[in-house]
């Protein structure tokens, strides 16, 4: 860890040339595969994630897991062995993947209208192709898009974003791997940006209480920015799909 590196230069630019409150470039696409009911691909900077949604369908395996009042949401987080700098030995099943699967489930449950599908199951699978910081947010965002592609009713978008502190003072958004490695604590927030509700918050290290509000605020702002980008992508996608079936969209 190099102590000489400042995360935010005097001129206010980060190591990759972004400003503190800027997200990385987000590119995304809905419906990348034909087999799943819904699928999506997202790039946040260099972090790349594929998500696939199957369902709602009958509960597989143990029938007893089925719930009378809502759908079962089953999430699996997995990382390609080549996704990290050092090659990973296992794509999933390790502690971190299991934890992330649970966090993903937690975030999605808050958005999916599960009560519409009792006795059934929805599978959400995410596959990280390149991990360059902010894996979890990318997974949440990709999963949201895949759910939309699958046509599963959501309360609203669920978006996630990371934030940290530069030079122990300035909050900054969407932390890259390089910044994660140098910098201080990272705050991950998954939120329902329209209603402003936080569905998941996690910190990589201790945060001083004085800093938390401004970093949290920054992360929430990030979630809102992400939502706008996703929303635009969804609209374009619907327009695309729609026009091929002869819809005419006004405006």
């Amino acid at each position: 860890m190099s102590r000489n590196k400042e995360l935010l230069s005097k001129i206010g630019l980060r190591l990759d040339g972004r400003r503190a409150n800027e997200l990385r470039r987000i590119r995304c696409k809905l419906g990348v595969f034909t087999e799943p009911d819904g699928s999506a691909y997202i790039e946040q900077g260099l972090t790349k994630v594929l998500a696939a949604v199957y369902g709602p369908h009958q509960v597989r395996g143990q029938r007893s897991k089925a719930q009378h009042d809502g759908a079962l949401v089953n999430c699996q987080f997995s990382m390609a062995v080549f996704s990290t700098g050092e090659r990973k030995r296992r794509p999933r099943g390790d502690r971190k993947s299991t934890e992330l699967s649970m966090h993903l489930q937690q975030a999605l449950l808050a958005a999916i209208k599960t009560e519409l599908y009792p006795w059934s199951q929805i599978d959400v699978y995410v596959e990280v192709l390149h991990a360059d910081g902010g894996i979890y947010p990318a997974c949440v965002n990709a999963a949201t898009l895949a759910l939309i592609d699958a046509g599963i009713p959501l309360k609203e978008y669920v978006c996630a974003c990371t934030a940290s502190l530069a030079n122990n003072d300035v909050p900054m958004l969407d932390i890259s791997h390089q910044e994660e490695a140098i910098g201080g604590p990272t705050l991950t927030v998954a939120a329902l940006p329209m209603s402003g509700k936080i569905v998941l918050m996690e910190m990589s290290q201790r945060f001083h209480l004085d800093h938390l509000p401004k970093v949290l605020e920054k992360a929430l702002q990030g979630c809102k920015d992400v939502k706008n980008i996703l929303d635009e992508a969804v609209r374009l996608h619907v327009q695309d799909v729609g026009s091929s079936t002869g819809w005419v969209i006004k405006n």
């Binding site: 005097k10 001129i11 997200l23 470039r25 050092e86 122990n168 890259s176 001083h208 920015d225």
Partner: protein, 959 residues
């Protein structure tokens, strides 16, 4: 808010991973010119009002700097005559990568708006960014980016003129091809209006290398060859430390080696300068020698002549042959320099020679003389000034450097203070406006709110005891009987953390200064005077905020309970040690103050006894006080500081408070409590002490602090009462430096304070003059609910960094204080000749090192002229004695010497000693007033190699 374009930068490191980094190219980067209409305006200090006056160009122009200019010509850039410079981000990154100190200097220029520097982020700008080509070297790529930025500026602002300043010939030529005006610094500076002084500051890069110049030094290995050698274990990397006594000797501290590697002679040192990181090659074991015991000074005057060196070297060799077996050290030679640690050096010109080239003599005797080029030699001869080293070519006896700035006339108090401060890196500029704006507004009043939050102790009889003339009083005491035949003892410390809030400019400045530095006639405050001498100072009769530590004790000084709280106090009286002592001793006085002082004194004695029993060391270092004439600011007298019982009384309670606080904060902050440790010295450190003890027939036990304390107590001699003190002085020099550290950075058993023999210690009692105490106050305030935490307080990493600075500044402040004492002692002795009593501290081969207790001085009494062995004295190395006829001189023997100041070398005024007693025919001189003075040519020299004195709680109070 969105990024415009992205590209990918690849590199691989380590286990051959391929890394990919994002690099955003932006369209919102400001060019820095307020007149520009296309760029979005951001703050910039470039201005049309400033004009660069260089006669090469008939028009006003803006300078774009190449990396090499910044790295090498920083001294020129620091001159205010150069302004309106554009620093490209490409350049800035490279500068930062190559040299952090230079980067910091550059940033301080950039931050100064009157210099009109602007940083242009060219590598993220959409028009000035270019990807690196395959196979293109990073330097070429950077140069290309610089040129691209130049052309862009010329296109972007066609009615402004830009000039590229570069010393890189290739880049300059390529720039010319692109029709970019480019000049070298030398050309540019030559045509500046004020070129005389500036010319001196130019770094001489291409110094005329004569083809036939003989190499004086062996060549250095290339960096890669050194790295390979180190990897293969043939070479070793270490820090070079030059000897202060012998310019042809030095040591290399190699990590992992028990002993330092000795290097000797011109070839052995091979152009290493004190502090450099070097590669050494070890000699075969049969060629290992012991460090020479002779004192050698570089008396060379010219650059090429090396005859005198050769003579000195021969002498060294002779000496080496006689090396004693048990003192043989690993020996080697420097084969290359890994990293230069050159800084700026204070000093003077040598001699009166004319010409462009002059020899500069640094004040620090571990630094070689430096050759400089100057056109103002006449002026410089009267000045102390600063020089920096540029290079040390193989054919030159001295390193080449250039003039940076003058400090003032030689011998003036103000100049010397400046030198002392600079040499010890003491920040001593005026407090900035920003810092001063953090101070409370006068008149300062205590509000009801304050009273509510604090315990009101204004009714208690509190007093302070300090040295005379002390204006920054940071502690006060009280003691009163309470029920149950107990005593309540309170230590009240100025509540500085109330005024210095974390994160403010004032706080940052204080943290950077770390400590108040006391010179003989000058105090460099850590915090502005309003706080240090007024609002925080616990003056008598004034209501002040304090942080109180209050114990309930029984009459045997056992602590029943301890509490801490913030309070308001009103000191009844600010006393000096002497006054307090008189009050205690005067039986007729029986007021509450006198009584509490007596009680305190009684308790302090019990505490001290207990402490000593546990193995706390009583160490000694001669501390002198210099009485100054208040009008002429000249020293009137030099004397050893007087100690009263009350000194020790205050010290005991300060120690107790510090220990109590340390326990409390560690309890609540196991990871980030600021503590102070004094490491147990390695047993080899005690060798000189054990050896000295053995000669005198004392068995020095050094296995534990307690045994050492016992041994020291036992080692007394009736005929020589000063002997015990001398041993204690020696013991002090065996100690390591005490340091601050955050509790999380060490294991519990490493917290130990050796000198005080306590498991936990911190500094709490002097927040006005030590920053560590402010941190401790803040921590303690949190534990007693008086204040809240802030992020950096709980950040272990930040605390580690802070501690490093505090330790460094403290050490430097200590050295600076001593240097100031030494200078004033010299001033006092100017023109005086005196006979004084002294004691032999060490017996060396050609000299006796003599301690003169009255002045706390340590000087060499030379027994023979240089290079010759005395025909009077016989040196016995085993017993460390010198024999002359029937007379044998041992270590610790009492002598009488005649002292006078030798001012031949204005920079290194030295004391010349002549032996008066015992009288040795043909060597000693008659006592003063008995015969006429004989002129003895013996040289002598002060030696201020006084190593760190150990911690003694609060006893090193203000001079």
């Amino acid at each position: 808010m969105f990024t415009t374009k992205s590209f990918i930068k690849k590199n691989k490191i380590g286990n051959y991973l391929k890394h990919v980094r994002e690099h955003y190219i932006r369209d919102d980067i400001f060019c820095g010119f307020s007149c520009c209409e296309t760029c979005s305006l951001v703050e910039s200090s470039l201005t049309e009002e400033y004009v660069n006056k260089c006669s090469l160009f008939k028009f006003n122009h803006y300078l774009i700097l190449d990396t090499n200019i910044i790295l090498e010509q920083m001294d020129v850039l620091e001159e205010p005559i150069i302004g309106n410079c554009i620093i490209l981000h490409t350049v800035l990154k490279e500068v930062k990568h190559r040299s952090l100190p230079i980067y910091k200097r550059l940033m301080s220029i950039v931050d100064n708006p009157s210099r009109h520097f602007y940083i242009f982020t060219n590598d993220h700008h959409k028009d000035t960014f270019m990807p690196q080509k395959d196979g293109e070297l990073i330097n070429d790529y950077n140069d290309r980016l610089i040129r691209k930025a130049c052309s862009w500026y010329m296109d972007h602002l066609p009615n402004k003129k830009f000039v590229l300043l570069t010393d890189d010939r290739a880049n300059k030529n390529l720039a010319k091809e692109d029709e970019i005006p480019a000049v070298t610094t030398t050309e540019y500076v030559k045509h500046l209006d004020e070129q005389v002084a500036l010319g001196d500051k130019l770094k001489k890069k291409d110094s005329e290398v004569q083809k036939d110049a003989k190499s004086i030094f062996p060549p250095h290995l290339s960096t890669s060859a050194m790295l390979i050698g180190i990897k293969e274990g043939k070479l070793y990397q270490g820090t070079f430390r030059a000897s202060r006594d012998n310019f042809l000797e030095g040591f290399v501290n190699v990590e992992g080696f028990e002993d330092n590697v000795l290097v000797q002679g011109r070839k052995g040192l091979n152009r290493a300068v004190d502090g450099d990181v070097v590669a050494v090659q070890m000699f075969d074991k049969t060629e290992w020698v012991s460090p020479s015991e002779i004192v050698l000074e570089d008396e060379g005057v010219s650059e090429e002549n090396i005859k005198d060196i050769q003579k000195n070297e021969n002498e060294l060799k002779k000496n080496a042959k006689n090396s004693k077996k048990d003192e043989i050290r690993p020996t080697g030679c420097v084969v290359g320099i890994i990293r230069r640690k050159w800084r700026q050096y204070c000093g003077i010109l040598q001699g009166n020679s004319d010409g462009l080239y002059q020899i500069f003599v640094p004040a620090d005797s571990s630094i070689p003389k430096i050759r400089i080029e100057t056109r103002q030699a006449e002026f410089l001869r009267s000045q102390k000034f600063i020089v920096t080293i540029d290079s040390w070519p193989q054919h030159s006896r001295y390193p080449h450097g250039h003039f940076v700035r003058a400090l003032g006339k030689i011998g003036q108090q103000s100049t010397e203070n400046e030198v002392v401060l600079l040499e010890h890196d003491v920040p001593h500029s005026q407090f900035s406006e920003e810092v001063l704006s953090c101070l409370p507004k006068l008149p300062w009043l205590i509000t009801d709110d304050d009273v509510k939050k604090r315990v009101d102790l204004r009714g208690i009889d509190i007093c302070s005891v300090d040295p005379p003339g002390c204006t920054d009083i940071d502690d006060a005491l009280h003691c009163r009987p309470i029920e149950g035949d107990r005593l309540e003892v309170g230590v009240h410390i100025a509540d500085v953390s109330h005024f210095i809030r974390p994160g403010t400019a004032l706080d940052l400045e204080a943290a950077s200064r770390a400590t108040t530095v006391y010179l003989i006639n000058k105090r460099i405050d850590m915090v502005p005077e309003l706080l240090s001498s007024n609002l925080c100072s616990l003056r008598g009769g004034e209501e002040r905020f304090a942080f109180s530590c209050i114990w309930e004790m029984d009459k045997e000084a056992n602590i029943i309970n301890t509490r801490f709280h913030k309070s308001i106090i009103k000191s009844k009286k600010a006393m000096t040690y002497e006054e307090a002592q008189i009050t205690i001793d005067d039986k007729s006085k029986n007021d509450s103050i006198a009584q509490s002082l007596r009680n305190l004194n009684m308790l302090a004695k019990i505490l001290k006894k207990g402490r000593l029993q546990k193995g706390a060391l009583v160490l000694a270092s001669p501390e002198v006080k210099i009485r100054m004439d208040s009008e002429t600011m000249e020293p009137l007298d030099v004397e050893i500081k007087k100690m009263f019982e009350t000194n020790s009384m205050v010290e005991e309670f300060m120690l107790l408070a510090n220990i109590s606080v340390a326990q409390k904060i560690l309890e609540d902050f196991p990871d980030c409590a600021m503590l102070r440790r004094h490491p147990t010295p390695p047993s080899t450190n005690f060798d000189p002490l054990v050896k000295a003890g053995k000669h005198l027939g004392f068995d020095m036990k050094i296995d534990s602090g307690k045994n050492l304390a016992q041994s020291l107590d036992d080692a007394t001699c009736e005929t020589n009462p000063y002997l015990n003190t001398m041993l204690r002085i020696l013991a002090t020099r065996c100690m390591l430096q005490a340091v601050y550290f955050p509790s999380g950075a060490m294991q519990k058993d490493e917290y130990f304070h050796y000198g005080l023999a306590v498991p936990l210690y911190t500094h709490f009692t002097s927040p006005i003059r030590r920053y560590a105490d402010i941190i401790v106050h803040r921590l303690l305030a949190v534990t007693c609910g008086a204040d809240s935490t802030y992020p950096n307080l709980l950040n272990k990493q930040k605390t580690v960094e802070l501690c490093q600075n505090l330790n460094y500044r403290n050490r430097m402040a200590q050295y600076a204080g001593r240097a100031s004492v030494a200078f004033n002692t010299h001033l006092f002795f100017k023109g005086k000749v005196q006979d004084e009593e002294g004691y032999v501290l060490y017996v060396r081969k050609n000299a006796l090192q003599i301690l003169i207790p009255k002045y706390g001085l340590e000087c060499n009494l030379f027994l023979a002229t240089k290079g010759e062995t005395s025909n009077i004295f016989e040196y016995d190395e085993d017993n460390q004695t010198q024999k002359a006829g029937n007379l044998i001189i041992h270590s610790f023997d009492r002598v009488v010497v005649r002292m006078s100041l030798d001012s031949k070398n204005i920079q290194h005024e030295k004391f010349t000693l002549q032996l008066v007693e015992p009288f040795i025919e043909g060597f000693s001189v008659q006592p003063l007033g008995q015969t006429e003075m004989e002129v003895d040519t013996n040289e002598a020299k002060t030696d201020k190699k006084r190593k760190s004195t150990s911690e003694k709680g609060n006893n090193k109070r203000k001079s």
